[in-house]
């Protein structure tokens, strides 16, 4: 423990310990499974990390002062402790045993911030859906004109440079953005099965970067400062100029405005940290929010699927790869099964009208969704919010277009107020993007109700696809945004298309 503390701008060191009786520490450890806890303890005792996760060991000198009531007698060496946890791995037992052993035995003097960060990442790996990620696009800014003060920098849409990201440089400049009355701890982590680098930012309000920051000096209890802490995750996908940010999470009770301001602070700080001299960047929200990192990697990631969703995904998937040197006539994508089972089908009796309609619905669904929207592709989106701004179809038009039906698919929602806020935000956001639609002739005789549609579920587009396959949704008349080809989870529909996006995703 440091003798004295002075206010500083430095970051929190990884070896700083949080008291193991802190409820937040106990809570975060108890979220993990037994296997995760043991492998976590083993990784702490590993050679490289032990400096940041020193366990409580028995010292030779106080051998005579062994506490007989100690349930978890301290081990003598790291090696011994390591073997103990390896043994535990083979035995069976409850998760509470391991958690208690860590908290009250081997790390009774507290868990370091490094350890807590690892605990959180293990939890994230066990529960990948536990965070809600929002995708942002990194865009280059035009260089400022000389001699002009405080001009608003515009996005340089003609720039050919692709932003680059270097973790340690990024962290250094991000630390420079942090205000002196806030202390942060950073931890990088690379998940095993995803091409993305995760950064956990743990923020507390304190002018000190020593243990004072965590124990609290107000005297009203040791967890005072910890309740004001926030955790935010950033994800940097490999080979993509996007960044995913989670909503900040409080350890204690938090007001909405507070967490949003931290979110804003980060959204403002991150582009500055990414920028370099004579190269400035900004972040632009891309209206895509999901709990599923894999979805984000598919829609805003390094691959081909970024601007080829829905039915266009057939152009992006490797499945339809066809070398021009291969002269075998490819069977058209929709008749794949029929051409293969040609022989057997010939002997079947002809389909009746119901079967034919079902087959047609399946083919249409395949045409509209391509290879996307399959139930088990692991790329589910939980929620889509769409605001319709098209004029209400008159009865003749309704018959012609088959509208109206779409509204039936939207589940009735009670929590309108929260959603309205996000929709309103989106309205403001896309309002300035859109220029072309401004000179639309306003027809006063048209009735334009504000219709919001929310789709919710494990995999919204797979659900819509299933409805289309079952013939409940007419696949041919279904608007394009229902196939997920725009790659957004929040959008405003005008003229039957997601506004401001006009389909390109550029």
């Amino acid at each position: 423990m440091a003798r004295f503390s002075v206010p500083t701008k430095a970051r929190l060191p990884s070896s700083l310990r949080v008291d193991s009786s802190n409820p937040a520490v106990i809570k975060s450890l108890n979220r993990l499974s037994r296997e995760a806890l043991i492998s976590l303890a083993l990784s702490w005792l590993d050679g490289d990390t032990i400096a940041n996760a020193v366990p409580y060991l028995e010292r030779r000198s106080d051998e005579d002062e062994i506490d007989p009531d100690d349930v978890y007698p301290p081990c003598e060496s790291v090696q011994q402790l390591y073997e103990l946890y390896v043994d535990m791995q083979q035995q069976k037992g409850s998760k509470r045993d391991v958690a208690n052993r860590i908290l009250e035995g081997d790390w009774r003097h507290g868990l370091s911030l490094y350890q807590l960060a690892m605990v959180d990442f293990y939890h994230l790996e066990e529960h990948p859906m536990s965070q809600k990620w929002t995708a942002y696009k990194i865009l280059p800014l035009k260089p400022p004109t000389k001699g002009v003060e405080d001009e608003v920098l515009r996005v340089d849409d003609k720039a050919l440079s692709v932003p680059r990201f270097h973790p340690s440089t990024f962290l250094q400049s991000l630390q420079d953005q942090v205000l002196p009355d806030i202390k942060a701890h950073y931890h990088f982590h690379r998940p095993k099965d995803l091409p993305v680098l995760l950064l956990r930012i743990f923020v507390i309000e304190s002018p000190y970067n020593s243990s004072l920051a965590l124990s609290g000096v107000t005297g009203s209890g040791e967890a005072t400062n910890f309740t004001s802490s926030r955790t935010v995750y950033l994800a940097f996908p490999d080979g993509s100029s996007h960044i995913y940010i989670t909503k900040s999470q409080a350890n204690g009770p938090a007001t909405g405005g507070e967490s949003r301001s931290l979110q804003n602070l980060i959204i403002q700080g991150v582009p500055k940290a990414l920028s370099r001299p004579r190269e400035r960047y900004t972040l632009k929200p891309t209206n895509l929010t999901s709990r599923n990192l894999e979805t984000l990697l598919d829609k805003r990631g390094p691959g081909r699927g970024n601007a080829a969703g829905g039915g266009w995904s057939i152009y992006a998937s490797e499945k339809n790869k066809k070398s021009p040197l291969d002269a075998v006539l490819p069977s058209p994508p929709l008749s794949e099964d029929s051409s293969l089972s040609d022989k057997s089908r010939k002997r079947l009796k002809p389909l009746n009208s119901v079967q034919r309609a079902a087959k047609r619905a399946k083919l249409v669904a395949q045409a509209r969704f391509g290879d996307s929207g399959l139930v088990n592709d692991g790329k589910g989106i939980e929620r889509i919010d769409v605001l319709l701004e098209d004029p209400f179809p008159t009865s003749v038009a309704a018959e012609k277009l088959g509208w109206g039906k779409d509204k039936g698919d939207a589940p009735a929602e009670a929590s309108v107020s929260a959603r309205r806020r996000t929709i309103d935000a989106a309205l403001r956001q896309t309002g300035d993007v859109d220029e072309e639609e401004l000179n639309d002739p306003k027809n006063p005789s048209q009735w334009k109700p504000t219709v919001q549609i929310t789709f919710q579920g494990n995999h919204v587009f797979a659900g819509i696809r299933q409805l289309a396959e079952a013939g409940i949704i007419d696949g041919e008349r279904m608007p394009g945004w229902m196939t997920g080809e725009d790659g957004v989870t929040l959008g405003i529909v005008r003229h039957g298309r997601i506004k401001g996006n006009k389909g390109s995703g550029l």
């Binding site: 692709v162 075998v328 022989k343 394009g480 298309r497 006009k502």
Partner: protein
């Protein structure tokens, strides 16, 4: 008599196809079929067999009484042969020209311009193989300017600055009502140049793939080198052997090198694969000595690879 004989003849064929399928030779069968179908003599024979006035030659070939199913089968074969011909032509164009265009229909019922979409196909090759091409789909969403194109969908990876290229060569038409007032003295309205767009995009794609290829080559040559030739008797690697070569940025312009003794190197190349920067970090910051030893090879990445190999072999002995 006739149908039973037909059945008997068909069955061995079916069996043969089934057995070929089992042996995994179905593909060769397909290739043979497509070759036969696309040959001009077969097409002629099919055409003449469908001809209403029977010539003596075709009469000899065909059964005396043309039955309906045969007619239909030949019709289908002819159709298939025409498809095959068209496909062969497409393949030929794709082989000869690295950018080809095609037409797509947007399935969205409210798509702009009646769903007319122009598709561009960019072929890429690596080590003598065609890879999955990149696609760029263009549509015409501007009602006042029917000739102006806009990128609708694409499968180009984010490493290629497609938005920037599109903004340069395919600018959106100016709004007539708004801009007349403010910028009435604008020298010239924006012009779209699809040709230059395609050219520059193709160049970016090729450069990107060449850079990927260079780093893959580097990994292959250095990786093979360190695992076989330089392995010491006790199985440990010499300190100068390179253990890892990886791409460090989105555009594949930077290559990260890791030596066996945990030194780190970073190699930065420009658009054309020339090395512009090269640096080595040791345990205590910049390793100037190694940088100087290797830094003499300012040239292409291939030269650096040679240098690195010599370096790994040289200091060890």
């Amino acid at each position: 008599m006739d149908p039973t004989l037909d059945e008997l003849q068909v069955d061995p064929l079916d069996e043969e196809i089934a057995s070929l399928k089992q042996q995994g030779k179905f593909l060769t069968l397909k290739v043979e079929c497509s070759t036969i179908l696309s040959s001009p003599s077969i097409q002629e024979a099919l055409l003449s067999s469908l001809n209403p006035q029977p010539s003596p030659k075709s009469a000899a070939l065909r059964p005396r009484k043309p039955r309906k199913p045969v007619e239909r089968d030949e019709q289908r074969l002819l159709e298939r042969s025409k498809q095959q011909e068209a496909y062969n032509q497409q393949c030929l164009y794709r082989i000869a020209a690295s950018v080809t265009a095609f037409k797509v229909r947007d399935p969205d019922p409210s798509a702009v311009d009646g769903g007319h979409v122009l598709g561009l196909r960019f072929e890429i090759m690596t080590r003598g193989h065609f890879l999955q091409p990149y696609y760029v789909m263009l549509n015409r969403p501007y009602p006042g300017n029917p000739k102006f194109l806009r990128i609708h969908r694409h499968t180009v990876p984010p490493a290629i600055p497609l938005p920037g290229l599109a903004a340069r060569h395919l600018p959106a038409p100016k709004q007539q009502t708004e801009d007349r007032g403010e910028e009435g003295t604008l020298p010239s309205p924006p012009k779209q140049d699809i040709e230059r767009f395609v050219k520059s995009l193709r160049r970016e794609i090729m450069r990107y793939h060449n850079r990927l290829g260079v780093s893959a080559d580097l990994r292959r040559s250095l990786g093979a080198h360190s695992s076989h030739g330089l392995m010491a008797a006790d199985g440990s690697l010499p300190p100068n052997a390179i253990v890892d070569v990886s791409i460090a940025d989105t555009e594949a312009k930077q290559i990260r090198l890791t030596w066996a003794d945990e030194r780190n190197g970073r190699l930065v190349m420009d658009d054309d694969g020339r090395v512009v920067k090269f640096m080595v970090f040791g345990a205590e910051g910049r390793d100037w000595e190694t940088t100087r030893q290797l830094g003499e090879s300012q040239g292409h990445v291939e030269d650096v690879a040679k240098m690195l190999e010599q370096f790994a072999a040289g200091r060890e002995s």
